[in-house]
């Protein structure tokens, strides 16, 4: 019943490998697929997993030995007393390995004999014997069972004749332990598993047998986005607050400057550069919104790198305007248009999509009044820009007279991580943006007016 471990073939033209390290010592137990030894071929190191669970009975080559492929390098079996059938098998196996035996047919015959012997032995084992043998598990297993006060006859065994192996015992113990041991330190993996519904957990099937559906695998960017969104929701304490912003002044300046701007700089002047500028200024005043959380520390980011969500046919990308606080409207417009353009053509390079410290998304481009965006981890806030349109607004003058005015208005929604940012911080930040949009004269556009 023992298993031979052979030197695997690591490539078509590779005939041998050097054993560099035995990771398991003779007499130790090893699980199937656990790394057993390491080899080196062509200066490449490879870990070789164990083909079976059991005890490493024999190692045939020391570390440093160079061994032909397919050669037997070790034997794995059961610990302690070896049953007679196994001994017989081992003897036969020995013969199979015998270099004098060159005929493949003979080898096959011998191998079949091993199976036969094993089969016969299985059939003569009586139920009581099975029970007894199971209890007669290795000393290690018996000791573990004693420590944990477990009756071994209750543990399903997968070893020889249903013997309980160490792994069986560990599995049995695991199945009895409540798995929800550490709330709050759940990993992203657990989150996503929970979200994608594992057997035994609450889940709603996506479709039933016979439903009229078509099933299509997710693209990689879809999977990444899905994982990120769930991860973010599980990580941050999301709160969203919405401000009504008056962009009338910006609209007026933009309307008068945009043609000249396009002629001079060859790029369009949208509302976004004005908003980027207002956001960058507000972030300087509210460093808490330009930060990340690292365990129980707050990491304040010294650079203001604005991520701007770009919707693409194939998903969502967030290229980053680096050092946005150092750019004027021309710089912001050029950078943003260039990034968006190259994002669509898949021409971005790594640093253009990473290192963002704050994100701006623009659901309003499709007419939405406002959205409640999900934070782009590991940031702590994201600003959603609603559609910008003319709306009637009640205005009061100094004498308390109310009039209805027509203004360019937009709802700006800020989602912040309440672990770090309080409502007052977010409001302060939004008021700063509101003030900039209302009062800034944008004098740098004077040449185009």
């Amino acid at each position: 019943m023992s298993t031979e471990v052979i030197m695997p073939q690591m490539g078509e033209s590779i005939a041998e490998g050097t054993i560099t390290k035995w990771l398991i010592a003779v007499g130790e137990t090893v699980e199937r697929d656990q790394p057993l030894f390491e080899i080196s071929t062509d200066k490449v190191d490879a870990e070789i997993p164990s083909p079976a669970s059991g005890v490493l009975l024999e190692v045939k080559y020391p570390e440093g030995a160079t061994v032909q492929i397919e050669a037997v390098v070790a034997v794995i079996g059961e610990a302690g007393e070896v049953p007679a059938a196994s001994e017989a098998s081992a003897d036969l196996a020995e013969e199979v390995r015998d270099p004098k035996m060159t005929s493949a047919a003979e080898a096959v015959a011998a191998a079949e004999t091993i199976d036969e012997v094993a089969d016969q032995t299985d059939t003569v084992v009586e139920p009581e014997l099975v029970d007894r043998v199971r209890k007669m598990s290795s000393p290690l297993v018996r000791r573990m069972a004693e420590e944990k006060e477990i009756d071994l006859s209750r543990v399903p065994g997968t070893g020889i004749h249903g013997r309980v192996t160490k792994n069986d015992l560990l599995r049995y113990l695991e199945s009895r332990v409540d798995t929800s041991t550490a709330p709050g330190v759940r990993t992203a993996e657990v989150m996503v598993k929970a979200a994608t519904a594992q057997p035994g957990q609450f889940m709603v099937p996506a479709f039933a047998e016979g439903d009229n559906v078509e099933i299509e695998p997710m693209s990689n960017i879809r999977k990444l986005t899905a994982a990120h969104m769930v991860y973010s929701k599980q990580t941050s304490a999301h709160v969203t607050t919405v401000f009504h912003m008056d962009l009338s002044r910006v609209a007026k300046v933009r309307d008068r400057a945009k043609d000249g701007f396009l002629r001079t700089h060859g790029t369009k002047l949208s509302f976004m550069p004005f908003i980027f500028k207002a956001v960058a200024n507000a972030l300087i005043a509210s460093p808490k919104l330009n930060a990340s959380i690292d365990g129980t520390s707050v990491v304040f980011k010294k650079d203001i790198n604005l991520g701007m969500a770009v919707a693409l046919d194939w998903g969502l990308l967030v290229p980053v305007i680096r050092h946005a606080d150092g750019l004027n409207l021309v710089g912001l417009a050029k950078t943003a248009n260039d990034l968006a353009d190259r994002a669509r053509r898949k021409k971005l390079v790594p640093e253009e999509i990473q290192g963002g410290t704050f994100t701006i998304t623009n659901p309003g481009v499709f007419g939405s009044l406002f959205g409640t965006p999900i934070i782009n981890q590991p940031q702590v806030a994201i600003l959603g820009i609603g559609t910008i349109e003319k709306r009637p607004v009640v205005e009061s003058d100094a004498d308390g007279n109310d009039t209805i005015a027509i203004k360019y208005m937009s709802y700006f929604a800020i989602t912040f991580d309440h672990r770090l940012v309080d409502g007052a911080d977010a409001d302060h930040f939004m008021i700063h943006i509101k003030q900039t949009l209302l009062e800034e004269s944008w004098s740098e556009l004077d040449p185009f007016l």
Binding site: M10, G11, E12, S13, I14, T20, K21, D33, P35, S40, T41, D42, K43, V44, D45, A46, E47, P49, A188, E189, V192, K193, T196, P217, N220, I221, K223, L224, A227, H228, Y231, V318, L348, V349, P350, E351, I353, Q354, G355, G356, Q377, P378
Partner: protein, 236 residues
């Protein structure tokens, strides 16, 4: 699945990362790739000054005086890749492909040759004429008799880790204090030394990635640094 869909390669440039941190990251990504929770990944990064001792290295291969190491802020780290001692530091592009060679590329020799092909093509695009050397003593990519890129690979159940180091604009003085790859008379060189051009690592990484996906027949997906190091579980 009988007709495999195209295989994705998530890649990105991580910036400067300490050697031990990059090892931890590789292990976590490797486990995810091996479990089929993540598609293949190609990490590009640079290390702070560090001498790494491969499995076959001895401390005697580090010729530098401990005091010199300390004043220069050079670390010495042991690692589980093949090979001997080598140097990593600023200006050197390190590429760590963590890719599953199952089921169609299960050949160590082919993998190493493929990496060399990628490096030679990358160098050619930057105006450097280089040659792969395949003997295990000289494994790497050479420009005449000087070595410009080193290779050191680890494989676990056909999932790769570690990879290659390409001297883009490396301060070659640091190689003088070691016996690179156990060869006492090896001269190292860099792209900057050969061409006089000082490329950014991210630019070279982008070129290298294009050749990598060509040779390995993958579809590149550029992923932000933050997301690469988060190692989210991705079912593939």
């Amino acid at each position: 699945m009988s007709d495999r869909p195209e295989r994705k390669l998530e890649w990105g440039f991580l910036g400067r990362i300490s050697y031990p941190a990059s090892e931890r990251l590789q292990v976590s990504i490797r486990d995810a790739v091996r479990a089929g929770r993540k598609s293949d990944v190609l990490l590009f990064l640079e290390h702070p000054h560090v001498y790494t001792l491969g499995r076959n290295a001895s401390n005697a291969d580090v010729l530098a005086d401990p005091e010199w190491l300390e004043t220069r802020g050079v670390e010495v780290a042991e690692c589980n890749r093949g090979g001997q001692v080598t140097y990593h530091g600023p200006g050197q592009l390190v590429g760590y492909p963590i890719i599953d060679l199952n089921p169609d590329r299960r050949d160590i020799r082919r993998y190493v040759h493929d990496l060399q092909t990628v490096l030679v093509a990358t160098l050619a695009e930057l105006g450097v004429d280089s040659q792969p050397r395949r003997s295990s003593e000289e494994l790497g990519v050479w420009v005449e008799n000087r070595k410009v890129a080193s290779i050191g690979v680890h494989i676990s159940r056909w999932v790769t880790s570690h990879g290659f180091a390409l001297n883009v604009d490396t301060d070659l003085e640091y190689f003088a204090a070691i016996v690179p790859c156990g060869l006492s008379d090896v001269k190292m060189t860099s792209i900057a030394e050969i061409t006089g051009n000082h490329h950014s690592l991210s630019e070279v990484a982008t070129i290298c990635c294009h050749h990598f996906v060509d040779v390995f027949d993958r579809v590149p997906v550029l992923v932000p640094r933050e997301h690469l190091s988060m190692n989210w579980p991705i079912a593939s």
